[in-house]
């Protein structure tokens, strides 16, 4: 059992993708620390290795060197506790919304063992979670009946239904229009404040990072490593209006300048 304190520690991780045409060095000596309960954002130019970092943290890909420790446990294979969501909601079209949300419980222990017996209990939990993201009354619909923003809300619920200690988000709102995206920022903010999990959010939207995160880690162009960590000292709870305050704008400008700098060859 992991201790109640601790953090997500990424220590000097290097990753090379080997292929017929030679290797691609995706990450070089990357280190990152995310304390338990923190909302961390990782920003960086496209192709710098952000998705690779997610895969390493969740143990889906082993690093060449370095190690990852999550709340005291060293990662040796796919972790069994992380919730993940991507740009594409990836819902199963043959399952109703509620059954999509319940999918992780059919896999993760100890829920898996109890799933049949306590079906009603789990369904109630899923309904409650859907309600918190504003999908009251949609549980019996099929994914294709939902808009892109609603599908992404379902995807978030699926990532959170087993109450993971760690939520990994890889550009989850990148495909949405500006209004829907801001709506979902608030959904995510509220979920995080209510449930208190640790989040690592990969994004290339600097305003998104500044609005949501406690700390923003800027990655260099490939091979990626962290070149700057910016603490967002805006008070919480944050409201969307905060995006128009000078201090917010200053943070976004600073990040922008750093990324422009690291994108230069």
């Amino acid at each position: 059992m992991a201790s109640m304190t601790g953090s997500v520690d990424i220590n000097h991780v290097t990753l090379t993708y080997r292929s017929a045409g030679g290797g691609v060095l995706a990450l070089r000596d990357t280190s990152l620390n995310v304390p338990r309960g923190e909302f961390a954002a990782v920003v960086g130019p496209s192709g710098c290795g952000k998705s690779s970092l997610m895969k390493i943290v969740t143990g889906l890909v082993p690093p060449d060197s370095g190690d990852i420790v999550i709340f005291g446990d060293r990662v040796r294979g796919p972790v069994k506790i992380a919730g993940m969501a991507f740009q594409n909601p990836n819902l199963l079209p043959w399952r109703k919304v509620i059954d999509n949300v319940l999918l992780p419980l059919e896999i993760v222990e100890p829920h898996r063992r109890k799933f049949r017996r306590e079906r009603q209990h789990y369904r109630d939990e899923a309904e409650a979670l859907l309600k918190t993201v504003g999908l009251d009354g949609f549980s019996q619909r099929f994914p294709w009946e939902l808009s892109g923003g609603m599908q992404q809300r379902v995807s978030l619920c699926r990532a959170l239904i087993h109450q993971p200690a760690l939520l990994m988000l890889d550009e989850p709102f990148a495909a949405l229009d500006a209004f829907t995206r801001e709506e979902l920022w608030c959904v995510l903010r509220d979920l995080w404040q209510k449930l208190g999990f640790t989040v690592i959010l990969v994004t290339h939207d600097l305003r998104e990072a500044a609005f949501l995160a406690d700390n923003i880690h800027v990655m260099s162009a490939r091979p990626g490593h962290i070149v700057m960590t910016k603490t967002v000292d805006l008070p919480r709870p944050r409201d969307l209006d905060i995006c128009f305050e000078p201090h917010f704008t200053a943070i976004v400008h600073e990040l922008r300048a750093k990324i422009a700098e690291v994108r230069k060859p």
Binding site: L60, L92, W94, V108, W144
Partner: protein, 256 residues
Amino acid sequence: MSSTLEKLSPWLFTLGIFVLWELVCRIFKVDTFVLPAPSQIFQAVGQYWLPLAKNAFVTLWTTLAGFALAVAFGIVLGIIVGWSRTIYRGLYPVMIGFNSIPKVAVVPILIIWFGIGIVPAVLTAFLISFFPIVVNVATGLASMEPELEDVLRALGAKKLDIMLKVGIPRTQPYLFGSLKVAITLAFVGAVMSETIGANSGLGHLMVQAGSNFQMPLVFACLLGLAVEGIVMYAVFAYVEAYFTGWAFRSSMSAAA
């Protein structure tokens, strides 16, 4: 109004073709031995309905037996091939090679092994029709979204979990889509084998009628084959639409 016309149009066109055919045969006085008129064909159907029905039934169940084998074998092999990239890479060329052998060339071998009868017809139907099923099932598994696999693996899912929860359900539309192709191929295989060496089946009856110069009966057999083929295709097209509605609807709103 126009929708009823649309529904009727296949029947009207079929009828029109028969009428045109009849007219051509009468106006140009085409020899029955070259091309019998539809009226003569239907007359032959009436006259020989019992042997036609008996042999059509043999063809039907030979086709279905071969098809059933193909479905069972195709699903199993498809899952094996789609299970891992290594197996996919290794087996695919072998299967392509096998599939490119014209099955007509195999029928005589089957007849030597199993003798004249229904076994070669069942096996030919099987051999010719399993390939599209394997390919479709394997494609359904292999084209699974890698991110979805990541989501499940980060929950501690084993390969078997991923296959049961996602892989196999998502191959359904691919499988059902391949069935209507496979049933048509199985039918072709069964009839082909019957024309080469059999003692029953529509293909066999057709060859016999031909060697007795009974052209109307030959065409009556062809008609029977066409009807049988259309019915089997229609059944599986319906099965596909019925079981995989979600696939059509979700692909229509994929851009959401």
